[in-house]
Assembly symmetry: C2
Homo-oligomer: 246 residues x 2
């Protein structure tokens, strides 16, 4: 019996002698603020967690007792209306930090798209860490600022862009993400059409139709529904910017 495969969510203390020293996302996450010498202290503050595909691991309105640091996989962050309408506010993957909250409850929900591994920092312990390593607070502020700028860009998309411009923007953003892994022109979308639709404020059908249109116009190629090839990045970027109308 294997806990990792039999349960949707698994928790365990960070194992090994130097759990954080070998962390693949440490340098790009908020943990970068902790000097090498104090990694043991850092590791003692966190609990490891694994969420299998489709699993909810942060629930809107639940007490915000902990913060999360995504190690691998991709999660969707979203808010719901009472009748089920969903707005995905973002996708979080390796290196992302979740749980910033004003009140003492979470303002959004988070679900694993593929298998997601993360570190859980109980609120109290992270606060202690921030107290002892002030650079961590600066790091967190920078992260929050980045998120804020992204959120404003997304508001522009949701409020003022056409369906085509939205999909183009999304694809270019994904391309930039893939560029970090070395292949800006060809990448895999971990999320389903429904997730893209709820992220862009349109319907599944419109996502499909728009992708088809972009394909017909030769800007992209779509192989097996999840793999995208950018054929004309310039044209796609113009579309995304909205610099094609006048």
């Amino acid at each position: 019996m294997n806990a990792i495969t039999d349960f949707p969510i698994v928790l365990k203390p960070l194992g090994g002698l130097r759990p954080c020293a070998t962390c693949r996302v440490r340098q790009v996450s908020i943990c970068e603020a902790i000097p090498e010498a104090d990694l043991a202290r850092l590791g003692a503050c966190a609990i490891g967690g694994i969420a299998r595909p489709g699993t909810l691991f942060i629930a809107e309105a639940d007490p915000a007792n902990a913060f999360f640091n995504i190690i691998s996989g991709t999660a969707r962050l979203y808010k719901l209306l009472p009748d089920g309408r969903r707005q995905i506010t973002g996708f979080a993957d390796g290196g992302n930090f979740l749980g910033l909250a004003v009140s003492d409850t979470y303002a959004f929900s988070a679900e694993a798209i593929d298998t997601v591994c993360y570190c859980i920092f109980p609120r109290i312990r992270l606060r202690a860490l921030m107290h002892d390593f002030p650079h961590m607070e600066a790091r967190l502020l920078k992260f929050a600022s980045t998120e804020l700028v992204a959120a404003q860009e997304q508001m522009l998309l949701l409020g003022r862009k056409s369906a085509q411009e939205r999909v183009a923007s999304f694809l270019m953003a994904r391309s930039r993400l893939a560029a970090a892994q070395g292949s800006p022109a060809c990448f895999i979308l971990p999320m389903a059409r429904g997730d893209i639709a709820d992220y862009l404020g349109i319907t599944i059908e419109t996502v499909v139709r728009t992708l088809r249109k972009l394909r017909d116009e030769g800007m992209i190629a779509v192989t097996n529904t999840s793999e995208v090839v950018i054929c004309n990045a310039l044209a796609l970027q113009c579309l995304a910017n909205g610099s094609h109308r006048g």
Copy 2:
């Protein structure tokens, strides 16, 4: 000749012996982080500014050399598309802090709606302040978190709410703001219809028609285009939440 009335933007060192000590918004702004004894130091870091109605005082893509603390008045924060489409990402009034940026340029523009008074903190000086008063960084983080939560709520609105739900949400948010001044049921909208439209991701005409519909349904009363009276807060809140369909 009066500089304050003859020029759109006026800059001057904070005058008086105790400029910050008498500041009306100090307790609710990030300056709350500075102890009483150090107010002289705080005042020396800032420059006073006044922007007359319609004046741009932060321009997207300009070098982000300074941060702003709004003292009085209301500003609109927005992003533009090349063809002129505008998305207002928020309204800033007394106590609000502007200028958080990831890169070294502003990610948005800010214009005065009515006459706006503010304090300008050159980037370097604010950094020094944050270094000497670590609580200020915590305060800033809290502010950024609050903004982030508001931005996510706005994404839900822009992506998934109907025009009626958007206007209702806007009015209830304004009502909550007015509640701080003691009158949640009756307040003045400082911004024009066009600003509301660009904030809610709809057109001026739709704003007008929706306000009229809410008026006809007895939820609100509109006196002179800028004054609103909430007649049925409960119904309006239900509409805003989207809890009226299912």
